[in-house]
Symmetry: C2
Subunit: 390 residues, 2 copies
């Protein structure tokens, strides 16, 4: 009989297995937890899931609290369970009580965490508290995967600035538009839908006034283009990323499409943010804020911009713009990631380059690290980052 | 005992299994069979290999003849065997006797072929002969893989022209050199070694006089850079691809490195191929041939060139050149394949484009099919072809 039991029992499920499940849960909040981190939690006892939770929206329960509530709801006995949580349980009293206290009070015997709190000033306090309450603590488990849930949140905690990601669509010969500006559409619908998901996962989207005046984009997240399940579409569209426009001379057209869409718009200008022009813009867009930018070489200082968005609790920001502003971000060392959608076509040598980046010698080249190149529809998605080691 | 036999017997090996082995054998001749096709042959009897053969060099035995000789050599009884051969056995009397006769005479019971003879004028005659001799014929088997052994040979048989492949090395922003011409080295050693193997598998390598005068390349196959086994290096370097230079005004420098390396050089010119200059060049390079090219719009006619190389029994030719000539090949619809090595770096917006290709509207774009993008060293190898369907 013992032999039969062994034969019939499922494979041993280890810490990595349950952490992978917690990561899946965290991802459900991909488009809605910001500015908070994406976190998932699984309560396991005797090799069985008691309950699961994930952090859905700011102001709502953290993943651990959601999991405990779910367990209580079904009458499960939490005492003696193991909690798998992708991020160290918080130790501070915010909009909800500290999760480390909630776990200890619920009688959790063991906590397995994915990564420590990235804020060096609070890091490990939640774990210390748990240990002080006699709870066994183990981790980090699947740390890289857990960190990948929150690259922007981690950047903000460590460096007080968001993760800055540039997105662009180019041809195989690295052209983003024809000489006359024509650029619709270089890539296919599948790639454009992927861009919508990038937007939806961002706290802010940045563009330059030139691109706005040229193309009159809405720059919003569009439900029909997301290609997500109904639940995720609901979460993704109940908030919109802040649309940030760099507009030194305040040339924004009050009839711009982006001013007519729901969601916050932030115009950064070197002009007077209280001018009649600014007032006229605010009259057509109640959620518009016009702010005075810091200048650097007669242009808006991009370091100031990134810092300002960090203060506004932006985790991930997406730059969607032309070669000139994209080149400035790159040259000033402000890009953490490049997402390039490459279409299988040639636009020719007269078409516009991806970056205004005047270099004279091979030695002056900008080295990149390419993390992946994957097919998406008929295009290819290149994920790269500046190689600061080289 | 029967049960035990069943239990111990290897899995049933089907026609695909043995054809895959024949394809492996054919690949051994990758760098040495031209202008003949790459062909492999396996003789199988009672589920066991009797002997194997592959076509090594022009003038030497075809794969079938080699396999039969190998079987005879070890005293194996061929009668009743099955022959797996990647290409329909030949029916003509060339430098060796017809393989279809050799197979029938040897008593082969069954012939499995990978693809028919691509020459429409002789196609299927070898198979017909075999059937007429009472040999069972089956195929095509793994036809796509067998065709991929000989894209240039097939092109020459069907269209009387070689397969024309363009190779280039570019940065992620699709630049092949700095404005001043500096281009060493965009890609890493692994990619450059792959280019050596492309060269070694080609019957001819084409370049323009501008590139030669600028960079003074040797354009030969270098043993140490091939990254192949000793046997394959021996085969690959005992012949060199014809180095073809487009030199309208006969500006070739007699001190050019390429004239001092072993192997044939073909200079195509619109100037007088009997001039004093031509004689001076031939004096330093005995294997040099200077020929009169056909003109098209005051330049060398690339259609004429490709046709001429077909007449010279070139199967695969490799174009290694700058943006101007590369753009001409592309615009005239002469490229069958593009092999692009993309380095993870940006060379900037002043650097040289991959093609001189002046287009004005999105509608005028050149559509491509991307067959694969694979990492090679720290670079990425893109295999693409013009999408003539679009």
């Amino acid at each position: 009989m013992q032999t039969n039991e062994l034969h019939d029992s499922p494979p041993v499920l280890n810490d990595e297995h349950w952490m992978a499940r917690a990561i899946e849960l965290a991802k459900k909040g991909w488009y809605s937890t910001m500015p908070n981190p994406r976190v998932g939690c699984v309560l396991v006892k005797n090799g069985q899931v008691l309950a699961e939770g994930w952090h859905q929206r700011p102001g709502q329960g953290h993943a651990e609290v959601e999991a405990i509530a779910a367990a209580v709801n079904v009458g499960a006995e939490i005492k003696g369970a193991t909690a798998y949580v992708t991020l160290e349980p918080c130790s501070h009293h915010g909009k909800t009580g500290p999760c480390c206290e909630a776990l200890a009070e619920a009688g959790v015997r063991r906590v397995v965490y994915g990564m420590e709190d990235p804020n060096p000033q609070v890091s490990a306090r939640g774990l210390e508290y748990l240990r002080s309450q006699g709870v066994e603590v183990h981790g980090p488990v699947l740390e890289d995967e857990c960190r990948a849930l929150n690259p922007g949140f981690i950047s903000r905690m460590l460096h007080r600035r968001p993760l800055v990601r540039l997105k662009l669509a180019m041809s195989l010969d690295a052209r983003t538009a024809m000489a006359n500006g024509e650029s619709k559409w270089i890539t296919s619908a599948a790639a454009r839908s992927d861009v919508q998901r990038l937007r939806a996962g961002s706290c802010a989207v940045i563009s330059g006034i030139e691109s706005i005046l040229q193309d009159n984009p809405a720059m919003n997240v569009r439900r029909d283009d997301l290609g997500l399940s109904k639940d995720l579409c609901d979460l993704a569209t109940e908030r919109q990323p802040i649309r940030v426009i760099l507009d030194s001379a305040l040339r924004m057209d009050p009839k711009s499409q982006l001013l007519s869409k729901p969601g916050k718009v932030l115009i950064c200008t070197l002009d007077d943010p209280q001018s009649e022009k600014a007032k006229a813009l605010k009259a057509v867009c109640p959620e518009l804020e016009v702010i005075q930018a810091k200048a650097w070489q007669d242009r808006i200082d991009l370091h100031w911009l990134v810092s300002e968005l960090g203060k506004r609790e932006c985790n991930e920001v997406l730059v969607e713009t032309g070669a000139s502003l994209a080149g400035s971000f790159l040259r000033r060392g402000l890009l953490d990631e490049l997402i390039i959608y490459m279409a299988p076509k040639l636009l020719g040598s007269k078409a516009r380059p991806i970056f205004e980046l005047p270099l004279d010698t091979m030695a002056a080249h900008l080295p990149l690290m390419i993390d992946s190149i994957e097919p998406i529809g008929q295009d290819w998605k290149i994920t790269a980052r500046p190689d600061i080691e080289s």
